[in-house]
Amino acid sequence: MLIDTVLFYMFAALVLGGGVLTITRRNAVHSAISLIVSLLGVAGLYLLQQAEFLFAVQIVLYVGGIMVLFLFVIMLVNLDLAAKERQFNKQWLVALAAVAAVAAEIGYFIYRGKDAFHIAEPATMALAPPALGNTEMLADTLFSEYLLPFEIASILLLVAVVGAVVMAKKRI
C-alpha cells in the first residue's frame, strides 16, 4: 500500500535527521533532544513492522527513561566550557575505514540483490495463531524459551543499580 511507503519515508526522515543532528550539535541538550526525535522515529518503524509491544517499550524505556536520565546528567554537569571547545576528533583514518566497510557491505548486497539473503525468504508458518496479540506471543516465548536470559537480565539490572549507586555516592 502507498500509505506504508509514505509512513516509512516519514519515519526514516525522522530517524536520519535526528541522528545527524545528534552527532553534529554543539550543545549537548540539543543533541539529546535530537536523539529523542530519532528514537521516536525508530519506534514508528517498529509499529510499521507490527512490533507493538516494542513500540511501547521504546517510548517508555528509551524516551521516558534513558533520555530523561541523559538530560538530568547534562543539567548536572556544566557544559558551557565544553560547548566552546573544538567539537570533533581527528580520527579520519579509523572513520574512513568504518565508512568504507559499510559501503562495501551495502554495495555487495545491492549487487547481489535478493540472493544475498538466504534466510530472508518469507516464512510460511507463523509461530502463533493471528488471533493472539503481539504482547501475548512475546510473553509466551519470553517465559518459556527465554526464561534463563530473563533471570540473568534481572541480575544484570540489580548489579547495574548497585554499581551506579556505589560510583555516584561520595561515601558509602
Partner: protein, 102 residues
C-alpha cells in the same frame, strides 16, 4: 503485509549505525559519545525487528528487548561514571582523560 521491502529497513539501519560510529569516533564530548552508542544500539534493534517481521517470528523481538534492558543498565552505570569523571576532573573532554597514557 506491508509493501515496504526489507532492504529499505536494512539500509536505513546500516546508515543509522554508521551515523553512530561517526559520532563515536569524531565527537569529543563524552556525553555525545555515549549518545552515539545509543544510536548504534537502536540501529541493531531495528535490524532485529526487520528480520523478525520478515521471518514471522518473535525471537527477534525478544533479542531487541534484551538489548534495551542492557542499554538501560549501561546508561545507568555509564552516566554514573560520567558524573564521577566530571566530579574528579572537571572536564567532559575525552582527550583530557588520559592518565593511563602518561
Amino acid at each position: 503485509m506491508t509493501e515496504v521491502p526489507i532492504s529499505w529497513f536494512l539500509t536505513l539501519s546500516a546508515v543509522l549505525f554508521v551515523l553512530g560510529v561517526a559520532g563515536f569516533l569524531f565527537r569529543r564530548n563524552i556525553i555525545t559519545v555515549f549518545m552515539s552508542i545509543e544510536l548504534m544500539l537502536n540501529a541493531v534493534n531495528l535490524t532485529f525487528i526487520t528480520f523478525s517481521y520478515q521471518l514471522k517470528r518473535v525471537n527477534g523481538h525478544l533479542f531487541a528487548f534484551f538489548v534495551m534492558v542492557v542499554a538501560a543498565a549501561e546508561a545507568a552505570v555509564g552516566l554514573a561514571i560520567i558524573l564521577t569523571i566530571f566530579k574528579n576532573r572537571g572536564t567532559l573532554n575525552i582527550d583530557d582523560v588520559d592518565s593511563m597514557k602518561n
